[in-house]
Symmetry: C2
Subunit: 300 residues, 2 copies
């Protein structure tokens, strides 16, 4: 039987593209809240004997977690042959150690909690830093889709003489990868983080790149502060109007307005988190990874 693709609310568009590519059926799922704030979940398509592919991007994860677990667990109860999760944005990858005594290391706790309900996982560029591979924290088979080639293809097609700019050393590996795929030069800035919303940037000399279009790339746009700072430096350096590219556009409150105000005339994101700035389609790459997980080598 063909795989059953079940999108959580907000993931319908991506699930439709993914479903078409993997030749799956996109099933119907009801998720709503009772007046007392609890979630109601109903699978309107039977998962009996089928490989189930749940599609749920986990930006702003806390209110989504119980509904997601109810879907995963109910699919299994109702006889799914396997239950996998395509989560283009995977949450809780950022706190990967105790910076202060007593802190929860959510990047290690969360994977344990969700993996119990999963046979496999597909995601896009998780925010790996001190954790170098998803298998260090996820005890189930996992495939990471790299957005770099897709982002690079978009840049190569849409931007004239791009100069890639990575906002900090954390982004370096990723920006280098995009630059290589796009055949473009790059520079990496240095970021000093003082708090959730307090960030300062230092910029190397970019005068030799004045004829290029600066392309600011980052894996996550959350508060947008890093990109706002970088836009300021690029403008003060006398460079052309910048293009901003984020893989995961989380956009905390006011972030989009502040980015526009800072001069982000062109601001695009991948469709891993549904947003008006989505321009870069990851569905083909996600479908390829999903087919790998559903293939003959998957766990029975």
């Amino acid at each position: 039987m063909s795989p059953l693709v079940l999108p959580l609310p907000g993931n319908e568009a991506l699930a439709a593209k993914l479903g078409a590519t993997i030749r799956g059926d996109v099933g119907e799922l009801t998720v709503r809240r009772f007046p007392d704030g609890e979630s109601y979940v109903r699978l309107r398509s039977s998962p009996q004997g089928r490989a189930v592919v749940v599609v749920a991007s986990m930006d702003r994860p806390d209110p989504k977690f119980i509904p997601l677990l109810l879907v995963l667990e109910t699919a299994r109860e109702l006889g799914a042959r396997s239950v996998g999760l395509v989560s283009p944005y995977l949450c809780y990858m950022r706190q990967d150690r105790r910076f202060q005594e007593g802190e929860a290391i959510s990047a290690r706790v969360f994977p344990r909690l969700i993996a119990r309900s999963l046979d496999w996982l597909v995601t896009v560029d998780p925010h790996l830093h001190r954790i170098t591979d998803l298998s260090e924290v996820y005890p189930v088979p996992a495939r990471v889709v790299h957005a770099a080639p897709v982002v690079a293809a978009w840049i190569a097609k849409e931007v004239q003489r791009p100069l890639l700019i990575g906002p900090d050393s954390e982004s370096e590996q990723w920006v280098v990868d995009v630059a290589r795929h796009a055949g473009a030069p790059f520079v990496i800035l240095e970021k000093v983080r003082r708090g959730d919303r307090d960030v300062e940037i230092s910029v190397p000399d970019v005068t030799r790149w004045r004829e290029h279009t600066p392309v600011l790339v980052d894996d996550i746009i959350s508060t947008g502060r890093t990109m706002v700072e970088t836009l300021g430096h690029v403008r003060r350096a006398g460079m052309r109007a910048a293009v901003c590219v984020g893989v995961h556009g989380l956009f905390a409150p006011r972030a989009l307005e502040e980015l526009r105000a800072a001069g982000a005339a062109t601001l695009v994101t991948c469709d891993s988190v549904t947003h008006t700035t989505n321009e870069i389609d990851l569905s083909a790459a996600l479908a390829a990874a999903t087919l790998e997980m559903l293939g003959p080598t998957k766990p029975a």
Copy 2:
């Protein structure tokens, strides 16, 4: 070492009373949200070698679940001798079977998900219907605190010539118990539920009770529709102004206003869910149950 009591935000008042009664230390816990919507958790008091008592009422549970799990799991990682949960209102007890094909039976799934992080559980009058005992769904030791004696004591002290009125057959067992403890007569109405917010009530003849004060008691006040309907019948039957008592006051949006408008002049709840109507103090009963769980018979 004395037990370490850790209240999640909103549970500080109950935790203070509980902590004093069980001779525990109320510890400090930081729970906040990052700008991207993820939760940050830090235990500012060390759980090393101690029995940890987390206090977290689970009304409106979905956004609270990940922070709670981060607290429970981090307490264990940091060397807690045992990790228990006092959850005066326990969520997801209401959907206890598939009314329609494909529905998630959250009353069976949720206990599995949270019990993995617990050594024991204490709660107050869970909404048991088809599930007759908490041990059917919770695979860890659990104590249920019965609010009936405490509610009955409040009624006996505060209400002259009470007539207890249960809104439906689901409430019967509970109302009978309160009536017995209060030494008061009671009647049980019949409820027909047509949807989340659509409820109709039939009332037996109450003319012989005209000299009594009707006391409407229910385990959960959520939309308040049941109690609003019942208040209407009581008023039309020519009875005195009613006193409304709920164990768990969830109060969905507009519920309180609608209850006031329907004539609920006196409306009180237990402190299992923090609310302005809290009048009935369950902390002594919760402390007794907690001490039982922490006693020599608890799991090592």
